[in-house]
């Protein structure tokens, strides 16, 4: 892991994230969002969390980005009438960025180097999920089922 690799991955990631936040065309913004998430997954790989990086690619780019594209196509007739940005929100975002950046570079206790770690294998993650984390796992399964049913009920045609 070297700083140059992190910077090389971070620059296109942040450029894509900024493009996703500012582009006028909704479809272009969604594609930039997907590129930014690929960059985040690459940072996860660099940090030694390969499994989380793969999960991020599968879930966000495979499911969430495609779902957003479908929603854009379903609500297409409205696109183009949403001109104008809220400058108060933009100012707040810049203020949050400045404040947090100042706090990060001011705090000495986060200027640490990563210790050596044994690679996290999928076997270890699976063992943890099936033993000490089996209860949270079941709760997430229940939550996903509820979300699926809730989403279906929300978009069902209303009976007149």
């Amino acid at each position: 892991m070297s700083s140059a690799a992190v910077v090389i991955i971070a620059i296109p990631t942040l450029a894509a994230a900024l493009a996703a936040a500012t582009l006028r065309n909704l479809m272009h913004a969604t594609l930039s969002f997907a590129v930014a998430l690929v960059g985040v997954a690459a940072l996860f790989f660099l940090l030694g969390a390969e499994f989380v990086g793969l999960v991020l690619v599968f879930v966000y780019i495979g499911a969430v980005a495609v779902l957003i594209v479908f929603t854009i196509l379903l609500t297409r007739r409205d696109v183009g009438k949403n001109r104008g940005a809220n400058w108060g929100g933009a100012f707040l975002a810049v203020a949050v960025f400045g404040g947090l950046t100042w706090a990060i570079f001011k705090t000495q206790s986060v200027a640490v180097v990563a210790p050596y770690v044994r690679a996290i294998t999928v076997k270890r993650i699976g063992e943890a999920l099936m033993t000490s984390y089996v209860w949270p796992l079941q709760c997430v399964g229940l939550l996903l089922t509820a979300a699926l049913i809730g989403a279906l009920v929300l978009v069902m045609e209303e009976k007149r």
């Binding site: 700083s3 930014a36 991020l56 879930v59 966000y60 969430v64 640490v112 979300a147």
Partner: protein, 104 residues
Amino acid sequence: MTPTLQLFLFVSVALFSAGLLAALSRRHAIFILIGIEMMLAAANLNFIAFWRFSPQSQAVTGVLIAIFSIAIAAAEAAVGLALVIAVYRHYRTTNVDRLDQLKG
């Protein structure tokens, strides 16, 4: 040169601010959802970075909380987009400024 935790936290803050910019300054409901998803991705990056740089990084807790967080974010995105479609069907618009009445 090995990177410090500060570099990853800075990337995470920049990603979070881009998400906040999208969520606060846009009027389109799908843009707001994209912004929220970017903020969640920044939070996940923080989880993984703090796990990797902590003295107890042998434990798998940091990885597991990131996985659970991604699963919950996916559920949130599905329900959020369903809400956008339901609102569009009712009001024929996705501009959040024009959704200003509680009566349907």
